[in-house]
Amino acid sequence: MPSPNRDQGGGTPRCPRTPPTPEAREIVFDFLSDYDDPSIWGAFWMTVKLTALSGVGSLVWGTLLAAMRVSPVPLMRGFGTAYVNIVRNIPLTVIIVFTSLGLADIFGMTMGASDFDVRGFRLAILGLVAYTAAFVCEAIRSGINTVPLGQAEAARAIGLSFSQTLGLVVLPQAFRSVIGPLANVLIALTKNTTVAAAIGVAEAALLMKEMIENEAQTLLIGAVFAFGFVVLTLPTGLVLGWLSKRLAVKR
């Protein structure tokens, strides 16, 4: 547990009642250095790891779902539609808590991890991927709708199969038109990783909660964590916005 780390007896105070300014700053900001399991850097690093792994996972799963939703096989279309409409309407907290209390505790799904922290980390990613993929799917599907029908017809006319038409002609164009909306999903995902705190994953929001319980500087702590998330998400939006202009398909 953190302890107030006041430097006692350092120097000779000119006025004993009002401590000198350097010390005051130390007192106000001591929460930044007093935590080391995890440190504030460690906690944000966990947020980054959750975001990156869930991001990749939900991009893959979301793309597969979108492929199902436009496939000629009714069963796959039905599954895709049902999945998206069920999963995106359930609160993320419910999904994340279910992975821990349901999948892990009741069904014994340990995700190949014996360590509690590792298990929580993997379950959180599973929940985040399951949830975010529904939004990725819908973004990509709207991108597919921007690709003129003639593109798919031309692809089929030279003998490409359905999956080749989708993978080589339609999706590459669809992706380029939805980089902007996908950036929104990624930013939402970055912030949604905070829900992993609900099952004890040591990421930024869990540390913030702990600090707020132990320290007096509630507003300051809130501002520091808010700033941390802005630092993560603002470049995401800027870079992807630039990419979406650069990669736009000219017609």
């Binding site: 003639g150 593109q151 031309a154 030279i158």
Partner: protein, 258 residues
């Protein structure tokens, strides 16, 4: 325009390549194809003309099953058109298609457009595919544009690339669905010239067009459609100078006199 008539009569006839038998199709209440019977022999150039909404495009698209039909039979080179799936993809590779709106793959360069089918469908080696693509682009006169994207090309150039893309698959028959209708007038000829050349080389072609000059000079046979039916079939000279049906006379009088 009759003077430019191409000698195609000596092309050896080696059997029926595309056969349509009592083909019917509806779009809702509209009966767009009504009992269509049509046989195209190897090496033949058939031009399909007729007023808008007569079903010419639908007929063309039905031949490689971009449009499904309600009843009847279509067979290509003796094989009936298969259901959606691998067999259909294989058959489509043998049937080249050129669209009114070009439909070049917008995210790929001109060269990649012509290489894609060779590599992914014909499983050709990349080097071989590139050589062939460059040769075809040269043949249609756009070799210098190989590394550009379709949007950087003029309509006429795009359409010629689209023809090269179809030819890259070594098709048995080429379908042209109004290939010059979306072009500015000054670009129509460069596309028609490529098509004339193809016809001279003995390619089997089914061409839906409003270009009567092309029909006169390159076609072995003109098929006139109206209201979903084939109203008249004849060699071009006979059709244009002496149409039998009133519907054709009416159509020709409207397009040839101004």
């Amino acid at each position: 325009m009759t003077e430019v008539s191409v000698a195609k009569d000596d092309v050896p006839v080696t059997g029926d390549l595309v056969v349509l038998k009592s083909v019917n199709k509806h779009f809702g209440a509209l009966h767009v194809l009504q009992d269509i019977d049509l046989t195209i022999t190897r090496g033949e150039v058939v031009v399909v003309i007729g007023p808008s909404g007569s079903g010419k495009s639908t007929l063309c698209r039905a031949i490689n099953r971009l449009e499904t039909i309600d009843s009847g039979d279509i067979s290509i080179d003796g094989k009936p058109l298969p259901q959606e799936g691998k067999a259909l993809a294989r058959l489509r590779a043998d049937v080249g298609m050129v669209f009114q709106s070009f439909n070049l793959f917008a995210h790929k360069t001109v060269l990649e457009n012509v290489m894609l089918g060779q590599i992914k469908v014909r499983k050709a080696d990349k080097k071989v595919a590139e050589e062939k693509a460059r040769a075809l682009l040269d043949r249609v006169g756009v070799a210098t544009q190989a590394d550009k994207y379709p949007a950087q090309l003029s309509g006429g150039q795009q359409q010629r690339v689209a023809i090269a893309r179809a030819l890259a698959m070594d098709p048995k028959v080429m379908l042209f669905d109004e290939p010059t209708s979306a072009l500015d007038p000054e670009m129509i000829n460069e596309v028609l010239e490529v098509m004339q050349q193809l016809a001279r080389e003995g390619m089997t072609m089914i061409v839906v067009t409003h270009e009567m000059g092309f029909a006169r000079s390159a076609a072995n046979r003109v098929v006139f459609m109206a209201d979903g039916r084939i109203v008249e079939e004849a060699v071009p000279d006979q059709f244009f100078s002496n149409p039998r049906s009133d519907r054709a006379k009416d159509f020709l009088s409207k397009i040839l006199h101004h």
